[in-house]
Amino acid sequence: MPEAPLPIVDFSNVAKSFGAVRALAGVDLTVRPGECLGLVGHNGAGKSTLMNVLAGTLSPDSGEMRILGEDIRQRYSVALAHQMGIRCVFQELSLCPNLSVAENTRVVHPTIKGPGWRGRAGALILGKLDEIFPGHGIQPGDHVGDLSIGKRQMVEIARAFTVTAAPLHLVILDEPTSSLDAVTAGQLLQYMRKAIGQGASCILISHVLGEILDYSDRIVVMKDGGVVAERPATGFSRDTLVAAMGTVARAPAAGQAAQAADRREERPLSVRVRPKGRPGGAALEARRGEVIGLAGLAGHGQTATLLQVFRAARGRDPDTEVTGAVALVAGDRQTDGIFPLWSISRNIGVRSLRRMLRGGLIDPAAEAEMAEDWKRKIGIKTPDMNDNILSLSGGNQQKALFARALGSDADIVLMDDPMRGVDVGTKLEVYDLVRAEAARGRTFLWYTTEMDELKNCDHVFVFRNGRIVADLARAELTEEKVLHSSFTEDA
C-alpha cells in the first residue's frame, strides 16, 4: 500500500476561455479521499466553470485531468463522471417535475429496473432522505412538481448520495443550502461530515462562510480564474477569507463622493423600490442623475429588482415608484438583448422606432442616422451598420445594446450586469459614457458583479437572499464591506 492514496481529482493547469474571456487561467485542483474541500470566491472567480469541467458538462481548452489516477482528459463526459463516482448537485435543479421522487431516482440509476423497481427506487431514496434529513416529510410517490423548492433541493441532494452500480467518490455541492432552512442545512452538513468519515469526498461551495469554515478540511480561494489561496480550514478566519477573495483595499475617491452626497436630498426622486418576496431589508432609492450600484453575489435578487422597476414603469405597482421612462441594458445578451436575425442598426433602433416615423412609416434614413450617430459616439467597430449583429464581437454587441438604451427617450437606465464577458477597453469607454449621461440628468441602476465597476457608482446597495442588507454611500464603499455583506456568517 502506498503512503498516500490516489487523489480522486488531480487537475493541473486546467484552462478554459469563452471568447476573449479567460474563465479558468490554468487551475490546479486536488481532492483527496475523505476530505471536504471548501471552495470560495466572488462572482466570476471561475468556481462554476471549474465545477462544470469536473462534472463533465464543459470540456477545458487545455490542462491535465486525472480522476483516480487515470488520465481522462480526452474522453471525459457526464456519463464517465457518473461511472467514476463523481456526482454533482447543481444550483439549477435537474429533476423532472412531472415524475415522482422514486421515478426521478430511477432515472439516474439505469440498473433499477424489472418488477418491483418502483419499490426499490423508493426505498433507496427514502432511506437516504431519512439518513440525511430525518423528519423530511417526503414520500417516494410525491410528484416533484408539487414539492416546495426546499424539498426538491433535499431530494436532489439525497439522490446524489444514493449508490447502486456506480461507486460514489465525490459529491459536488454547489450552494446546497441556498433553499434549505437552518435546521435542514445543519442536517445536510452533518451528514456530509459523516459521509466523509466513511471515505467519500465533497466539494462545498457556499456563500455562507460559516459553513465553509466549520465544515471543510481545506479551503481553496479562487479569483479571476485562478487559485489565489489554499490552506487548511483552520488556517483561515472569516476576515482572512474575505481578504483573500478581494484585493488590497484602496482608498476611494472621497472628494467627489462627498460632493455627491451633499446634494443628494435636493435632487428629485427617480426610483424607490423595495425588493418583493422577502420581508425586511431596506429600500433602494435613486435620485436624478445618480449612478446607483446593485451589488452582492449573483442571483440574490438584483435582476429581479431591476425587472420590478421595469414592470412598474409600464404598469401600476403601489410599492414601487418610478418617475420616468425606463430602458434596460441586458447582461445576458443572447436571451435578453440581441435580435439575432437583425442588423446592428435595427438592433439599436428598436427602442426608438416612434421617433423615426415619417407619415406613419419608419424612415430608413432616420434609422441609419441614429445608427451612424451611435457608431461614432460609442465606437462600434464594424465596416457597416447594416451587417448582422452577430458579426460583432461580444463587446461590440454589448455596445449596441448600450446604444439602444442610451439612444432612447428613457430617463432611467437599468443595467443588468451588462459587462459580462466584455473586454477592458470597452468597459472603460462605457464607464465614461455612463458618467457623462448621468451628468446630463439620466439615472442609472447598475447591477454589477464586478467590484471595480461599483467604484463608478454614487451609491451602492448590497443584496443578499433577495434583500438589501447594506446601503453604502460612495465615501464608505470598500471592497471589504461589500464582501462582508454579501457573505453571511450563518445561514
Partner: protein, 311 residues
C-alpha cells in the same frame, strides 16, 4: 381531509372522470332507456377506435410534440386493413409494420433536424391520405373476418366497448406510467436536459414514442374497420381533432410530459358520448363539433381556474 380532497391536484385528476359522470348522468336523465346494455353499447360503439387514436396522440404530446396527421394515418391503416390485410395477410401485416416504422422515422427526423412537429405532421397528413387514396380510390373493401369478430364480441353484463376501453387504459397505464423505462420516457417531456445528462438517448426516446403512436394508430384503424366492415381513405379525418381533444379532456398538459392514459381514454369516452347527448337533446347534428369545441373550452377554462388557485 377535505382540504386534501379539494386540493388543486386532486381536482385536476378528478376532472376527466367527473366530466364523464356528469355527461352520463345528463344522458340517463334525458333518456332513461339509454341506461341499458344495448343503449350503452350503441352509444359507445366508436369509443374503441377513438380511444386508441387518443392514446396515439398522447404518446406524442407526452414529449411536447403534436401530431396533426393521426386522423389520415388511421384512415390509411383502415384502408390497408380493408384491402391488403384481407386479401394477402402477410403483405398487409408488412405494410402495417412499415407504417409504424415510418412513424418512428418521423420522430427521428423531427429530433435530428429539430423541426416543429406540427408542420412536419401536417405535411405527412397529405402523404398518408395520398397513399390511402392509391390503395383504396373509392370507399369499399372488406374488413378481415377476425377483426369484425373481435369488435362484435358480445360480453355478458358489460358492453364490449367499455371492457375494451378499460383494457386499453390499463395496458398503456402499466407500460407508460408504471414501467421503469416509462419513467424515463415521461421524464423526457418534463426535463429533457436532465434525462440527457443522466445518459439516456433522447433520439431513441423520441423514436420509441412516435413508434408507439404509430402502433396505436394502426390499432385504431383496424378496430374502426371492424365496426364499419368497409373503409374509406377519409374515414378518420376527424380523428386528429378528436385525439387532441381526448388527451386534453383527459387531463393531459401540452408541455411538460404530464399525461394520463386512463384520463385520455376517459376523455375519448366523453367525446364519443357528446354525440349521443346532443341527439337526445334534439340539438341538430350541425352543432356536434361545436359542442365538442365548447366542452373542450369549458374544460380548459376549469383547468385554468384550478391552476390560478394553485398560484
Amino acid at each position: 381531509m377535505l382540504a386534501q380532497v379539494l386540493s388543486p391536484r386532486a381536482l385536476r385528476a378528478a376532472l376527466p372522470a367527473a366530466s364523464l359522470v356528469v355527461l352520463l348522468a345528463a344522458i340517463f336523465y334525458i333518456q332513461p332507456r339509454a341506461m341499458s346494455y344495448f343503449g350503452l353499447n350503441l352509444m359507445l360503439q366508436y369509443a374503441v377506435p377513438i380511444a386508441l387514436a387518443t392514446i396515439a396522440q398522447m404518446f406524442v404530446i407526452a414529449i411536447n410534440d403534436l401530431d396533426l396527421s393521426i386522423g389520415p394515418f388511421v384512415g390509411l391503416t383502415a384502408s390497408i386493413g380493408a384491402t391488403l390485410l384481407a386479401s394477402s395477410p402477410v403483405l398487409g401485416v408488412l405494410a402495417l409494420i412499415g407504417c409504424v416504422a415510418a412513424y418512428a422515422a418521423l420522430g427521428a427526423l423531427i429530433h435530428w433536424r429539430n423541426l416543429p412537429s406540427i408542420v412536419v405532421t401536417l405535411g405527412m397528413s397529405f402523404v398518408w391520405l395520398g397513399v390511402a387514396v392509391i390503395i383504396l380510390p373509392t370507399p369499399g373493401g372488406t374488413a378481415p373476418g377476425w377483426i369484425k369478430a373481435v369488435m362484435g364480441v358480445k360480453l355478458p353484463y358489460v358492453p364490449f366497448p367499455i371492457v375494451a376501453a378499460a383494457i386499453i387504459a390499463l395496458v398503456v397505464h402499466v407500460v407508460l406510467m408504471r414501467s421503469a423505462y416509462g419513467a424515463v420516457l415521461r421524464g423526457a417531456g418534463g426535463n429533457a436536459r436532465a434525462i440527457g445528462r443522466a445518459g439516456w438517448s433522447l433520439l431513441k426516446i423520441r423514436m420509441v414514442m412516435y413508434a408507439a403512436a404509430g402502433t396505436f394508430g394502426v390499432l385504431s384503424g383496424l378496430s374502426l374497420i371492424g365496426l364499419t366492415s368497409a373503409a374509406d381513405a377519409h374515414i378518420a379525418d376527424r380523428y386528429t381533432l378528436y385525439s387532441i381533444a381526448g388527451v386534453i379532456l383527459g387531463g393531459g398538459e401540452f408541455v411538460g410530459g404530464r399525461v394520463s392514459p386512463i384520463g385520455a381514454v376517459l376523455g375519448a369516452l366523453t367525446l364519443t358520448l357528446t354525440g349521443s347527448f346532443l341527439i337526445f337533446l334534439k340539438i341538430s347534428p350541425d352543432w356536434q363539433i361545436g359542442a365538442q369545441g365548447a366542452i373542450l373550452i369549458i374544460v380548459l377554462a376549469l383547468r385554468a381556474l384550478i391552476k390560478r388557485r394553485e398560484g
